[in-house]
Structures are given as structure tokens and as C-alpha cells.
């Protein structure tokens, strides 16, 4: 029998649907925008397919998958795909991460959660 992936949850028991809505933060919309550009739905910067995004989301460890927010998973998957595609290297990423971190703290808006309509 094929074991199902962690993301493959159709039909499994689960709790009540919590009808949460989520006002997306700017950074989340930027991840979304990068994705749309990189899969070539808009513009001419196509560097990957949507299946690669999904593959790399599905490759996350189950515990991480559950803990991470939706765009948390996406940004990790996008970054991973860009490394796999050779668009960026892991050295580039390490250097850039350190650089960004050195710039220090900055305000971020808290996620707003409101009750569903």
C-alpha cells in the first residue's frame, strides 16, 4: 500500500472548521506576487512550474508543515526551487540572510484574524 503524504489529507478525520479569515500581510502578498511572476502567470520571468512549488511544499517535514503558516511554506518552497533551478545558490542565500539580519529590527503588522462572514 502506498503511504499517503502528509499534505494528502482528503477524507481523514479532523476537527471542526474554524471559519477564520486572514488579512494578508504585505510580505505574504509579496511572496504571492513572486510566485505568480516565477511561474509566468504574469510577466515574462518564468523560472519554474507550479508543480515544483507544490513538490517542495510537500517535501516539508510533517511537523514543520503543520506549524508553518501558508506563506511560510510558500517562501521556503520558492527559495528551495530557485536553488534547485540554479537561479540562486545556497551561498548567495546564506550571505543575503546574514546581511538582512544585520539590518536589524523593523516593525511588522500583526496578523489580523477576524471572524468569518
Amino acid at each position: 500500500m502506498i503511504e499517503r503524504g502528509h499534505h494528502d489529507m482528503g477524507g481523514l478525520p479532523a476537527g471542526k472548521v474554524r471559519r477564520t479569515e486572514h488579512a494578508y500581510d504585505d510580505w505574504e502578498l509579496r511572496v504571492d506576487a513572486m510566485m505568480m511572476l516565477l511561474i509566468g502567470v504574469v510577466g515574462d520571468s518564468k523560472r519554474m512550474t507550479v508543480d515544483e512549488l507544490r513538490k517542495n511544499v510537500e517535501a516539508l517535514a510533517p511537523a514543520d508543515y503543520d506549524k508553518m503558516g501558508y506563506y511560510d511554506r510558500w517562501v521556503i518552497s520558492l527559495t528551495q526551487t530557485m536553488i534547485q533551478r540554479g537561479v540562486i545558490t545556497s551561498d548567495d542565500l546564506a550571505r543575503k540572510l546574514a546581511q538582512v539580519q544585520r539590518r536589524g529590527l523593523s516593525p511588522i503588522s500583526r496578523r489580523q484574524r477576524t471572524k468569518g462572514r
Binding site: H22, L38, V42
Partner: protein, 206 residues
């Protein structure tokens, strides 16, 4: 740097990753900040009004409805809504079938017509349960489907998206297209709600 009221928090790991990835892609000439801003603005503009406009048109124009059920993507384009690279399938509610959409594997959603999906659509409980006990899940949304009406659940995927064409409510016979569109909420287009005529309609002056 942007100033905001409220407490200052460090970036999360994932935000650091977003900034780093974006700056690298810009430095390497893959994307530009302008293109990202443009895609964000376009996404913010998309909302369920688009799907609602298609539904209202279908309710009033049987020929459009037939075209919409035959080819959802083209019917969307007819009203000026682009659905690039995707096959849109519109599923029609009837007196004996109710439709509801989900993406059990991830979060596929007719985002070009409805905007970004609500958080619950992407949640484990919805994705897991709506395929097994749709009637119960719909009841949790306050939507009671009579037992004689069968429920069909459509599982979306990366290349194929569904949208529900709800039943036009009785008592809307002389309504304008615009007024009809006003009844069609995002949740009606997902299939977890039914169009509701407001209990106390405002007196309309014409």
C-alpha cells in the same frame, strides 16, 4: 523605514527569507520590485465580484450560461476577466444537486475570479472533512442542504479550478443584473453558502 504604531517585533524567519529571496531575484535581474508591486496590486483588485458578475449574467442570459458551463475560462474572458493558464469549470447547482469545491492536496482556488482564498479553505479540517462529510461541514457553515439533494464535492488541482453556479433564489424575478450579483457572495461561489435575499429589503426608489 516604515513607521507604524504599535509594538516593534523582529522579522520572523520567513519574513527574512522573503526579503532575502526577493533581493537576490532583483539583483540577478529575474524580477523587478515594480513587477512585484504590480502583481500585488493586481491581486488586491481581484475579488468575488468577478465570479458574482458571471453568475448574475448566467441567471439572466441562458445562452451565456450554456457557454459558461461549456467553457468557464472563455466565459470569464467574455466579461473581461483573464484566467491565464487554467481551465475553469463551472458547476451548476440544481434542485437535486448541490456543489461544493475544495483542494484536498493544497489550496487550489479560482483566485483569478474570487481573489485569494480564505484561511479556512486552506485549513486541515476543511480539506480533510468536506470530501467525507460535506453535509455536516456545510451545516457548520449554517447551510442546510435537504437530504433529498445530493452533494457533489469537486477537488481542484493546479491546472483545473472549479466555481459553483448557485441557484437563483425565488423572488428575484425582476431584479437587475447588478442587484442579482449583489446576492452572490464568495461563500456561494465556493458552495458553502446559498444566496440569501436580505430579510428586510430596503425600500427601493426607482
Amino acid at each position: 523605514m516604515r513607521k507604524e504604531t504599535g509594538s516593534y517585533q523582529p522579522y520572523s524567519y520567513f519574513q527574512l527569507m522573503e526579503i532575502s529571496l526577493r533581493e537576490l531575484l532583483v539583483e540577478k535581474g529575474v524580477v523587478t520590485e515594480d513587477a512585484i508591486a504590480g502583481a500585488m496590486a493586481a491581486m488586491r483588485e481581484r475579488g468575488p465580484e468577478r465570479g458574482a458578475a458571471m453568475v448574475a449574467r448566467a441567471w439572466l442570459d441562458p445562452a451565456y450560461k450554456a457557454r459558461m458551463l461549456a467553457d468557464g475560462s472563455r466565459a470569464a474572458e467574455e466579461l473581461g476577466f483573464e484566467v491565464p493558464g487554467l481551465r475553469l469549470i463551472v458547476v451548476e447547482n440544481t434542485s437535486d444537486t448541490h456543489n461544493v469545491i475544495v483542494c484536498t492536496l493544497c489550496s487550489c482556488y479560482p483566485r483569478m475570479l474570487l481573489g485569494l482564498p480564505p484561511e479556512w479553505y486552506k485549513s486541515r479540517p476543511y480539506r480533510s472533512r468536506v470530501v467525507r462529510e460535506p453535509r455536516k461541514v456545510l451545516a457548520e457553515f449554517g447551510t442546510k442542504i435537504p437530504p433529498k439533494v445530493q452533494i457533489r464535492v469537486h477537488d481542484s488541482n493546479a491546472d483545473m479550478r472549479y466555481m459553483v453556479l448557485p441557484l437563483r433564489p425565488a423572488g428575484t424575478e425582476r431584479w437587475s443584473e447588478e442587484r442579482l450579483a449583489g446576492l452572490v457572495t464568495r461563500d456561494c461561489l465556493i458552495g458553502v453558502a446559498l444566496p440569501q435575499i436580505p430579510k428586510k429589503p430596503k425600500s427601493r426608489k426607482s
